[in-house]
Symmetry: none
Subunit: 125 residues, 4 copies
């Protein structure tokens, strides 16, 4: 369910954050589901507990998970608010990738086709 790549440039704690988000989108993790404890996940991933704690606290800051004292960490309510606001901000981030592809002469249609595939892939269970 979780797999991290310690050789990646991407920080480990971010990899954890994204994999948890991906699991929510795929439906593997639902509202109120418990997450593994910091210690457990850290030993599962052979990673320092602090690193997992950082990932969890980032997810909590984004109100994706919530912590109940002495009990553990759980998936929170999935809110789909402020859509249009987020949309443009988020998509700005992919501009460099698209620029890169156009520089290599990839056709727009081809790009769109592939993105559609990725979108399907993200949702599929």
């Amino acid at each position: 369910m979780f797999s991290i790549d310690i050789t990646s440039n991407q920080p480990i704690y971010e990899q954890i954050v994204q994999q948890i988000k991906a699991n929510i989108v795929k439906g593997y993790l639902k509202e109120n589901d418990p997450l593994p404890s910091v210690r457990k996940l850290s030993s599962m991933l052979s990673v320092n507990p602090n690193t997992v704690a950082k990932a969890y606290s980032e997810l909590e800051r984004q109100q994706i998970i919530l912590t109940i004292r002495g009990r553990g960490t759980f998936i929170g309510k999935i809110s789909n608010s402020k859509n249009s606001v987020a949309l443009n901000d988020e998509l700005e981030k992919i501009k460099p990738v698209l620029t890169e592809l156009k520089l290599k002469g990839v056709e727009d249609n081809l790009i769109i086709e592939e993105i559609k595939n990725i979108l399907k892939n993200i949702s599929e269970q």
Copy 2:
């Protein structure tokens, strides 16, 4: 033509790399066009010369520009090779962004629409 944000998390040298690429895609920079010298660009951007040099050497590594001793730096040949290989590798990078949007409940159609707009926007002169 160049605008960098020193407060951004994105390294300055990468911002320079991407803006030069964007200028090529938009047609502002064409094959054999000269680039400003490291010193000149660094003073234009109020940035350390080392930073510009790093950007140029990265672009040279990617064979997008080439340096001719005693003459300066120039845009190289635009090659549209290795398309399909590059396509998937590059698009992997945008997966986290798309996951984020789906987590917020944004519809696939809406995402595709916006990406089409961005693609147009990248090409327009």
Copy 3:
């Protein structure tokens, strides 16, 4: 009469302590009134009995309630001693909140107005 938020950062036992104090101030609980037993309150709040016991022992330490063996727990005498001493100690705690507001540019008058409202609100039955 009691409502606790298990997701809050504030310890549950402190929430119980404060709500009992609030009920005294509002006049819902008066001298010699009995409090629910630890077991009863813990099941009312769906909370571990240890947590309620901790709240009661904290209130007892502050001489706000008192426990009589075999009879139960009761509201004690409301003493209004040590005023001026307590005042400054307690008010130190709100300094960070006031600093935060001033940082956001909120006017002193506005703050005072709102605090007056809160004070009314606390007393009203």
Copy 4:
């Protein structure tokens, strides 16, 4: 300029956060002023660098300071937006303190007088 109390219940990183905020409100720190480097402040306070880093990253998240790569950390723009929204949320936090005081029989007028003094005290240079 900074003084921390390692015996306090309040986390050290929060003490740092609040003291920096207080220094901004008092005018000791102004827009674009540099903060001491993580290492420097950590040795000034005899505290671990990670603890200072945590304080700085929290302040950055709140957009009170900003980090420029390889250069350091600086006070950002002081924005006084969303006043009324923040006001009530923040003031909720002082309710327990006010309740405590009323429980001890302190008069409203006395509380208001003292809060006015604190407000003056916060601003004074």
